[in-house]
């Protein structure tokens, strides 16, 4: 996307009266700003029980006393929390394009490169679709199948109504609302997100994704996802989409909690490609995400895989708390930053139980004038006997105006635990480039091939359908800045 897109969007938003969308939703119009009334309004709209409202208000009172964490290597103007809508802005508040011809052609070009079907393109570009979208029927088919297995997969709002016991027990158990200011903010005002419960011994037959969930086209600004894998179960969850996504909310603060009980395994894959701002660094989404998994039981496993190419600011540290003995935590990440994007991303592996293992593979690619930071903490607590960690983080620099930074924190309090960390930073190997060019590839193709090879270790961890798209996405992200 570029400034053209912004202009188009701008002009649409200015024309809002022309189509007469405003009047009918006038009474639902929420007020800007964050206060107890906003939270009560959200809770009321969602028809929540009183204990949920109390929980939100407690989080809010904590948030009021907190300051944003400042340690990340990011610079952005101060966020005005009172200038934000906390209940999803009503339809018609901004005007949507009528059909694809009104959408920025560059965006369409990208969709075509990714091989996205026409109907989906419309949804992604925010075109007002009248036809019932195919995925709904797809979703219902799958829903029946999941119900047969006893799997609960619904929106978090629905779960609060229907499964209050599970919510009461697990919500906020991995990310306490008072953890830091973004988690408190999310706890106070979250409006959307998924809830997954996999019963004992069940292996979820399909890859779960918000895409299959009904009413999930509007991914919220403050998402809250909670996944619980009961004893001996397995689930793979996909989040996000390879296609660039248009979104009018600038601040995103999602919370994702995973809980793996004994012998359970959760695989969580993310592809994030939100609007990164234009070539001059204007606009773009601020993505402040807290993701944390708890390996609560013995022999449990949590694996995070992420491909981060979008957002003006990415602040994201999917972590694992390895509490159960023999539990395993994995983190695979590719972060590509271009133009004026800033990414500060990494992981946190906290080894508590015996024989716990963790593996971190992080690949950062910086282009243009972007700044890309890996920040990761590995800590072995006193009782983590025979724990093991291996960390590898590599950075690739393309162009001489970008920055690549590596900030690992390594803390060992156990003398039987072994920790290994290695990192390297370099530019694209001239010899490899020369070799590829000699075989007839263009400069751009050659770079894309080499970068894809550089990321392969991570991309191969993605589920099949994601992996193919992600490879294309990597190539697209490099476009325009190579050569």
């Amino acid at each position: 996307m570029n400034s053209e897109t912004l202009n188009t969007l701008d002009s649409y938003s200015k024309n809002k009266y022309k189509y007469g969308f405003v009047t009918e939703i006038d009474d639902e119009k929420p007020k800007k700003g964050l206060n107890e009334d906003t939270i009560k309004f959200i809770s009321l709209k969602k028809n929540e029980p009183e204990w949920m409202l109390d929980w939100r208000l407690k989080a809010y009172s904590k948030w009021k006393k907190m300051k944003e964490p400042k340690w990340a290597n990011l610079s952005f103007p101060e966020i005005d929390y009172q200038d934000i809508y906390y209940y999803s802005a009503p339809k018609g508040f901004e005007k949507k394009p009528k059909d694809l011809s009104e959408v920025d052609p560059k965006l369409i070009e990208t969709y075509n490169k990714l091989g996205i079907p026409l109907e989906e393109q419309k949804v992604l570009a925010g075109v007002a679709v009248d036809v019932v979208f195919d995925s709904v029927s797809v979703a219902t088919t799958y829903k029946g199948e999941l119900e047969k297995l006893g799997i609960i997969f619904c929106s978090i709002g629905e779960a609060i109504q229907k499964h209050p016991d599970l919510i009461k027990k697990y919500l906020g158990s991995v990310i306490p609302p008072g953890d830091h200011s973004f988690s408190a903010l999310n706890s106070a005002v979250f409006t959307d997100g998924s809830f997954v419960y996999i019963p004992e011994g069940v292996k979820c037959p399909i890859e779960l994704s918000t895409y299959f969930r009904i009413n999930a086209e509007n991914t919220g600004q403050f998402e809250r996802t909670l996944i619980i894998a009961d004893k001996g179960s397995y689930v793979s969850y996909l989040e996000g989409c390879t296609a660039p996504k248009r979104d009018d909310n600038q601040l995103h603060a999602a919370n994702v909690e995973l809980i793996a009980l004994e012998d359970a395994e959760i695989k969580y894959s993310t592809v994030q490609n939100w609007y990164p701002g234009d070539e001059d660094g204007k606009g773009g989404i601020y993505n402040f995400v807290t993701k944390r998994g708890l390996c609560a039981g013995k022999n449990s496993k949590i694996s995070w895989t992420q491909v981060e190419t979008g957002s003006a600011i990415t602040w994201k540290y999917p972590s694992c708390i390895l509490k159960g003995d023999n539990s395993i935590g994995e983190f695979y990440s590719v972060a590509i930053t271009n133009n004026f994007q800033q990414a500060d991303t990494g992981t946190k592996m906290t080894h508590i139980g015996k024989n716990t293992k963790s593996k971190i593979i992080s690949k950062g690619i910086s282009l243009g004038k972007s700044q890309n930071t890996y920040r990761g903490e590995v800590s072995f607590l006193r009782k983590a006997d025979k724990a093991r960690n291996y960390t590898q983080c590599d950075s690739l620099l393309v162009g001489n105006q970008c920055g690549a930074h590596t900030v690992p924190y390594i803390d060992s309090k156990n003398n039987t635990a072994v920790i290994e960390h290695e990192a390297s930073t370099s530019k694209i190997n001239e010899d490899q480039l020369y070799y590829c060019r000699q075989r007839g590839l263009s400069h751009e193709e050659a770079v894309s091939l080499i970068v894809n090879g550089f990321c392969k270790q991570v991309l191969q961890e993605l589920p099949m359908e994601f992996a193919v798209e992600a490879q294309k996405l990597v190539s697209i992200s490099l476009e325009g800045s190579v050569g």
């Binding site: 930074h405 900030v407 803390d411 920790i419 990192a423 930073t425 370099s426």
Partner: protein, 408 residues
């Protein structure tokens, strides 16, 4: 007593407190302390430190009665005994030793390439009470050995030394810190390497349990110069080794190495920071630590590569061995890179002694302790065998044997 009162009370004993310029600088420093209040939570460099010893201390300094001794031996070697951080003036055609002056203070405090956010360096500037300046004249090849002696108990030494290696000169500097009394030394070495000069800096630290040593160095390297530093820390008291190096001009090199041997309740904080500001420079940072009993250590290494510093090679390595289950080691090897044509890497490992290696040695009939000792010696062998000074090598071997004798 807070820092400000402490300073005002002892002002008359502190260097340069008459100088207006320096006074304003010190007021600024006091403000920084007042605002920050040594916030441990947001400052990793204060990890594990018992701050009370350093903030709320009783200031005491004695001007030594016995003056320092400077011996000019044959083959360009000098030995200096510095007493309470003081050294008498000396001059010949190769070197010149003088007291530290106001301008040296300003030279450091006004240098913008240096990051002035280190609390202990700021404390040093505030309470400065001794120090000297050594200039190695052009094209000379000099060896200097400095023994640092502190005469009384409970002294607080705030020392600033300047070393200047003029064009084409070479200096082999051995500094010994072996104090047995209950004092605190806060030493700042400001090192300037002119064109084509070289400094090999060895620091041997072996203090008693009640002696605190805080040693910081700031070296700046001009064209074609080389700075090598090796730190051997056998101290039983608290030691803080923070060493910063700035590679200002092309083809300069910095090699910062250190080994520390900790036992009992000992704490050691280490940091190396290399700033690459020009093209074609090389740096290397290697720290190894052995931690026994309830000892704790931190090591921060940092390579900063400026946008102009193309063709940089910067390497870091940190290795730690934990011998006991109560020891803890924290390491943070950081890379900040703003140039694209660079080769930078870091590696960090923490773990126990390799069990397979122990098994191998034991299966050859060695006891477990003997095997452990052999493996510790081999862990640091590379650093020890690279010492080309025979006398020093012997000293260090002896200290190593002493440390190993306590390993069970």
């Amino acid at each position: 007593m807070n820092i400000q009162d402490n300073y005002l009370k002892n002002k008359k004993n502190i260097f340069f407190s008459e100088n207006k310029d320096i006074q304003t600088h010190r007021e600024k420093l006091i403000n920084i302390f007042e605002n920050d209040k040594f916030d441990k939570k947001n400052n990793e460099s204060l990890k594990n430190i018992n701050l009370k010893n350093f903030i709320d201390f009783k200031y005491k300094y004695l001007i030594p009665e016995e003056t320092s001794v400077i011996n000019n031996n044959q083959d360009n070697s000098y030995s200096i005994v510095s007493v309470n951080g003081q050294c008498s003036s000396f001059k010949d055609d190769k070197i010149e030793i003088t007291k530290i002056l106001d301008e040296d203070y300003n030279d450091f405090s006004k240098n913008d390439t240096i990051e002035h956010n280190d609390h202990f360096v700021n404390l040093n500037s505030l309470f400065l009470n001794c120090g000297f300046k050594i200039v190695i004249k052009k094209n000379n090849n000099i060896k200097i050995k400095i023994s640092n002696i502190i005469t009384d108990d409970d002294l607080t030494i705030f020392q600033k030394n300047n070393y200047i290696c003029e064009e084409g000169s070479s200096l082999n500097l051995i500094e010994e810190y072996e104090n047995k009394n209950n004092s605190t030394s806060n030493v700042l070495n400001v090192i300037k390497l002119e064109k084509n000069s070289q400094l090999n800096h060895f620091l041997i630290q072996d203090n008693s349990p009640n002696h605190n040593l805080i040693i910081t160095s700031h070296s700046s390297c001009k064209k074609d110069s080389t700075f090598n530093q090796k730190v051997y820390n056998f101290s039983e008291g608290y030691v803080r080794n923070f060493h910063y190096s700035e590679l200002m001009e092309t083809n300069s090199e910095a090699d910062l190495q250190g080994i520390f041997f900790l036992k009992d309740n000992n704490i050691s904080n280490n940091k190396t920071f290399v700033k690459h500001l020009a093209e074609d420079c090389k740096s290397n940072q290697v720290y190894k630590g052995i931690l026994n009993d309830r000892s704790k250590a931190t090591y921060f290494s940092n390579t900063h590569v400026d946008q102009a510093a193309q063709k940089t090679e910067g390497y870091q390595l940190s290795k730690g061995i934990l011998l006991s289950d109560n020891a803890s080691y924290f390491s943070k090897p950081e890379l900040k890179i703003y140039a694209d044509d660079v080769k930078c890497s870091h590696g960090s490992t923490i773990g126990p002694i390799d069990e397979n290696a122990i098994f191998y040695l034991r299966s050859r009939g060695m006891s477990k302790i003997a095997a452990t000792k052999i493996l510790i010696s081999s862990f640091i062998n590379e650093e020890l065998s690279s010492i080309d000074n025979e006398q020093m090598s012997e000293i260090i071997q002896k200290k190593l044997v002493r440390y190993l004798s306590k390993v069970k």
